[in-house]
C-alpha cells in the first residue's frame, strides 16, 4: 500500500481523497482540466519561481515525464506565482517537456491546501490522491518513481 510521506506533520493531507478538479490556462495557451486525465496516473507539481527547491525538482520531474509519459503518466506543473509573465519566462528557460499551468487566482492552491513550495501529489487512475510530498530534497525523485511504478501497474 502506498504510504504518505508528507514531510510536514501539520500540512493537511489529501491522501485517499478525490483530487479536487481544476481547469487552468497553460503556458501554451491551452486550458487543461485534471478530470480529463481520468484513467491515467497524474503527477501534479505545485511550484513557485521564488522557491529554490522547485528549481531543483523540476529537472527531475522532466526526466520522469520523458521516461514514463508513454506508459500513461501525465505530469502537470502548476505555478502559484502572482506574476504569470515572469513565471512563464522562468518555465520557458527550464525547457520542460510537461505542461505548465498558471494558478494566478490561487484557487487551486487553496483547494489543495498548498502551504509550502514545492508540493507534489500523485493521483491514481480513479482520480484519488495517493501520495503527497511537501518540499523537495535529493532522493525524493526515487520515492516518486516507486509510487509511479506502483500506480501504473494498477
Amino acid at each position: 500500500m502506498l504510504a504518505s510521506t508528507a514531510t510536514l506533520a501539520a500540512v493537511p493531507t489529501l491522501i485517499d481523497k478525490d483530487a479536487p478538479d481544476f481547469v487552468l490556462k497553460g503556458l501554451d495557451g491551452r486550458n487543461l482540466r485534471l478530470s480529463e486525465f481520468r484513467g491515467q496516473v497524474v503527477l501534479v507539481n505545485f511550484w513557485a519561481r521564488w522557491a529554490g527547491d522547485s528549481r531543483k525538482e523540476m529537472p527531475a520531474l522532466d526526466r520522469i515525464n520523458k521516461t514514463y509519459a508513454r506508459a500513461g503518466l501525465v505530469v502537470l506543473g502548476v505555478s502559484v506565482d502572482d506574476d504569470e509573465r515572469r513565471a512563464g519566462e522562468f518555465a520557458d528557460s527550464m525547457r520542460l517537456s510537461y505542461p505548465i499551468l498558471f494558478d494566478t487566482g490561487e484557487t487551486v492552491g487553496r483547494d489543495y491546501a498548498v502551504q509550502k513550495m514545492p508540493m507534489t501529489i500523485l493521483v491514481d487512475r480513479a482520480g484519488v490522491v495517493r501520495y503527497q510530498n511537501v518540499g523537495f530534497k535529493r532522493g525524493d525523485e526515487d520515492a516518486y518513481l516507486d509510487h509511479i511504478r506502483e500506480l501504473l501497474r494498477e
Partner: protein, 216 residues
C-alpha cells in the same frame, strides 16, 4: 422573500429531502428480503436428481452454488441500479428545491461551425455581478462544435428585469486574440428562465457572431 420566509422554506426543503431519503431507505429495505428467497427456491429442485442417482448428487451440489452466485450478482446489480436511480431522483429534487422555478435562471452555451472562432472562456455577469467564469478545454470546445450544449450557469434571480452581459474570449480569424461581448435585458417572470449564448459564424464578413437568445 424575507429572511423568515426563506428560513421556513429552507426548513421545509430539508424536511422534504429527509422524507425522500427515508422513503428510499424503506423501499430499499422492503425490496431487499424478496430476492433473498430466490436462492432457497433454486435449491429445492435439487432432489429430482434422484432420477439419476449416480451422477446427480455432485452436479446437484454445484448447481445451487452457481445459481446462488448468479442470484447474488443480480441482486448486487439491482442494488447498484437502485442507487443510481435514487441519486438521479435526489439530484432532480435538490435542483428543484435549490432553484425553484419562480426564481430559476439557467444560461447555456452553444456553438455552431466555429470556423472563425476557437472558444477559450466565457464570463457571465448578471446585473453587473459576475456569476460564472468558465475555461473551456479543447475537448469541451470540440463537444460544443459537435452539437453539445453546456449549462454554464444555474442560479436564482428575482422576478423583474435583469441585464445579462456575456464576454467570450478565444482565438478569432487568423489566430488573433478575440474578446467580444453580448448583452441582453431579460424579464424574469414567474416561470423558469432559459437563456442561450450562441456562437455562430458570420460567413459574409468572415467573423464570428455572438448572440443571446431568450427561450420564452
Amino acid at each position: 422573500m424575507n429572511s423568515k420566509n426563506r428560513w421556513v422554506s429552507v426548513t421545509w426543503c430539508a424536511g422534504l429531502l429527509a422524507c425522500a431519503w427515508a422513503a428510499a431507505s424503506l423501499a430499499a429495505s422492503a425490496e431487499a428480503p424478496a430476492p433473498a428467497v430466490a436462492p432457497v427456491a433454486t435449491t429445492t429442485p435439487a432432489p429430482p436428481a434422484a432420477a439419476a442417482p449416480d451422477t446427480a448428487p455432485a452436479g446437484g451440489a454445484d448447481a445451487p452454488a452457481t445459481s446462488d452466485v448468479k442470484t447474488l450478482d443480480q441482486e448486487v446489480q439491482g442494488a447498484k441500479k437502485d442507487v443510481i436511480d435514487l441519486n438521479k431522483d435526489l439530484f432532480v429534487l435538490e435542483e428543484e428545491l435549490l432553484f425553484p422555478a419562480n426564481t430559476q435562471v439557467a444560461v447555456f452555451v452553444s456553438m455552431d461551425v466555429g470556423t472563425f472562432f476557437a472558444l477559450d472562456s466565457v464570463t457571465i455577469k448578471i446585473d453587473n455581478k459576475e456569476v460564472a467564469n468558465y475555461l473551456y478545454t479543447a475537448r469541451e470546445a470540440d463537444a460544443l462544435l459537435k452539437g453539445g450544449v453546456h449549462r454554464i450557469y444555474l442560479g436564482n434571480q428575482k422576478v423583474g428585469k435583469h441585464e445579462l452581459v456575456a464576454f467570450f474570449t478565444g482565438k478569432g480569424p487568423v489566430e488573433r486574440d478575440y474578446r467580444r461581448g453580448a448583452t441582453l435585458v431579460f424579464d424574469k417572470g414567474v416561470g423558469a428562465k432559459y437563456l442561450e449564448l450562441k456562437i455562430t459564424d458570420k460567413v459574409p464578413k468572415h467573423q464570428p457572431e455572438f448572440s443571446v437568445k431568450d427561450w420564452e
